[in-house]
């Protein structure tokens, strides 16, 4: 019995040693590649020091690294595909025009898989292992919340958040280049109030973005002498919207302001339209990408965005045509709700800031990005409003058509974000 126990015991120990060896090997594989990249980084550092010493005779030509973090797979996979293509398109364009500070730009793309826990991991990889100069990305706000500290605070790296969202993101090193509620809400609500439409029904899914946007709607409506006659929130994964549709119809409101996300968008809108709703239907998520899903009932919906395909701007039209030619598979994915204009805008604003700073150093870019401004952008000029970490954007009010296209009703011009003030 004793002998047996000893043999099995040592065999177990042997086995564990073998397993440890395996783990060790894998780890060694990882760290050796890291050592390599670190040596490289050190070499670069030494190089730049010498460059400074040699005073402007030699130029640093090592590539600038841009980290792209988006949901290539999972629930937001399709948005991620669009983001990746837009990032690649933009960087190719920048490189074709001489890069930034005379240095080529290189993308490091990671997949956050629509899961914040994965996002945190890959964000750390971008910042700590690839040592990128900037990170752009994230689709939903929970992704931003999970990665911003790792990138901007712990990692001291600029982070561009390229999406329209609920607002209030004022962390140092974080730059918001998408629309915030007041930019999407104020112009259209004021216009409707002026037209004499005074009663509003508000509805959306029960999470932060719809609640924040609709809170802004309520504020503007009440300030302008209108009245909110109903406010309803439904779960994110709702499929049966019939109860909500009846409430909307029963309210007889002049305006329905809605933020119901996919997959319930289409059945909800169809239900309201087919039910004979007579007021205006407005939303922050209507554009060419969504119209096709809603179908003919999309006819007449009002949407407000930082870009529509039909805006009267030849620069935007040409760029989007170029994009479609370069990325035929993603051609249909260049839309405001997929954040495509915001990605293009964010990368160019950062480029401007780096050029103004003369370096990619985070502390320097933090100063110059504060007032970065650029005109040649898809959707129109944009500029960071100093002290707010948010961008002043050109906004458009569009009316959806049954065929999915959008008719621009009004170019609202540049709208100032009310943030971080």
């Amino acid at each position: 019995m004793k002998r047996k126990s000893m043999t099995v015991g040592s065999r177990g120990a042997l086995r564990s040693v073998a397993l440890l060896a395996t783990v060790g090997l894998v780890l060694a594989g990882c760290s050796s590649s890291d050592t390599a990249s670190e040596t490289e980084a050190e070499a670069t550092a030494t190089q730049s020091e010498t460059t400074e010493a040699a005073a402007e005779e030699e130029v640093d030509t090592s590539p600038i690294k841009v980290g792209v973090l988006t949901d290539l797979t999972g629930a937001f996979g399709i948005v991620g595909q669009s983001n990746q293509a837009v990032a690649q398109f933009t960087i190719d364009e920048i490189n074709a025009n001489g890069g930034i500070l005379g240095r080529p730009v290189e993308l490091v793309i990671v997949d956050s898989a629509s899961d914040p826990a994965v996002g945190a991991q890959v964000a750390s990889k971008l910042v700590n292992e690839d040592q990128v100069d900037v990170v752009i990305g994230g689709v939903a706000s929970n992704m931003r919340e999970a990665i911003k500290d790792i990138i901007a605070t712990r990692g001291n790296t600029p982070y561009i958040w390229p999406a329209s969202y609920e607002g209030n993101e004022c962390t140092p090193n974080v730059w918001n280049v998408g629309a915030v509620p007041n930019q999407q809400v104020d112009p259209v609500v004021n216009r409707l109030l002026a037209e004499g439409k005074k009663t509003f029904f508000l509805t959306g899914n029960d999470y932060l973005y719809p609640r924040s946007v609709l809170a802004q709607v309520r504020k503007v409506v009440e300030a302008g002498g209108g009245e909110v006659v109903g406010e309803e929130y439904v779960p994110l994964d709702i499929t049966d919207t019939s109860t909500l549709v009846s409430k909307v119809l029963a309210s007889n409101a002049d305006v329905l302001f809605e933020i119901i996300v996919l997959p319930a968008t289409a059945p909800f809108i169809q239900g309201v339209v087919d039910g004979g709703f007579e007021g205006e239907i407005v939303g922050t998520l209507f554009d060419e990408a969504i119209n096709g899903i809603i179908g003919t009932q999309a006819d007449g919906l009002l949407g407000i965005q930082d870009y529509f395909a039909t805006i009267d701007d030849t620069f935007s039209r040409d760029k989007v045509a170029e994009f479609a030619a370069a990325y035929p598979d993603e051609a249909g994915l260049f839309s405001a709700t997929f954040n495509a204009p915001a990605w293009y805008r964010g990368l160019y604003l950062w480029k401007t800031a780096v050029e103004a700073a003369g370096t990619t150093d985070a502390a320097e870019v933090e100063k110059t990005m504060d007032s970065a401004s650029y005109d040649a952008l898809i959707g129109g000029p944009a500029s960071m409003v100093p002290g707010t970490r948010h961008a002043q954007l050109t906004m458009y009010l569009g009316q959806m058509n049954a065929d999915g296209s959008v008719t621009i009703i009004e170019s609202l011009g540049s709208v100032v974000p009310e943030q971080c003030g």
Partner: protein, 334 residues
Amino acid sequence: MVIKGRNAAAIAIIVAIAAASPFIFIFGNDYITGTLTRILILGLLVLSVELAWGQTGMFTLGQAVFFGVGAYSAAVVAKDYGITDVIAILSVAGFAGLIIGLLIGAFLFTGRRVSELYVALFTLALAYAAQRLATSWSAIGAANGIPGIPFPTLFGLKLDSGPILFYLALVVFAIFFFICLWVVNSQFGLTMNAIRDDEERAEFFGYRRQTIQVLVFTGTAGLAAVGGGLFAITEGFVSPSLLGIALSTSAVLWVVLGGKGTFLGPLLALAILQILDRRMQDAFPQFWPIAIGGLLLITIVFLPKGIMSIPQVLRERKSQRVLRHSAPIREDIQ
């Protein structure tokens, strides 16, 4: 017997990690350190599934619920109440897990015997419900979760760098790892196995099956919750996916690949997959998910005890013929 080997291996692993870690900090970076920290934290979740399912036969497909409960309680305590002491935070997290685990365990196991499938479906539904609740509950950040959780402190010292957080995770992991090992190796552990292998037989011996199952289930819930608490304070954020189906089933996957009931195997599978995962995903984005699926199928079909049974399978194949003839047969009794 096997216990000796298991103990030796366990101590060897912990010592090796501790000894190797300085080299990782010198040659690696915060991403590698972070990955290793995460392995240790998820290791607590994996241990809890191994104890509940691998050792006691309670097929929990919702263990991330407790991980998430721990993570969220830690986040609330640290952020809203400003308590950053790591011992206090982890105690609150663990205690929250124990309470929820006790409620669910009592509901599932105090009545008549329920099938493994029933437990699996119930806990799976629970994970779904928990994630939905967290997604829509605005007090805990709804879909956005809780970001910006402050770094933990220990006796007033701020634990705010990757390597320090790694050692924190290592110490917490080692403590619970040895507690679990000690439980599994005790006579109580033998009883857990008896309930796993044949619940009814155990009852007919007079074992208070319900009490034991509720106790183990509650304990594993607390263990998972401590892991969740550790996740919250080291990663600095929590989000609804932490208590959802995806993480729950991942934990089960690691246990299956590593070898259910082998104690060390699941941890090993977790470590290997976590280290490989990001790199393989980046290198072979199309191929890697398929490879993982294939690996799982191969394991289920050929290695019912996961990677831990590879040496055993090889050994048995070699000595199969011998075994067949030397199987003990009792001819008579004197």
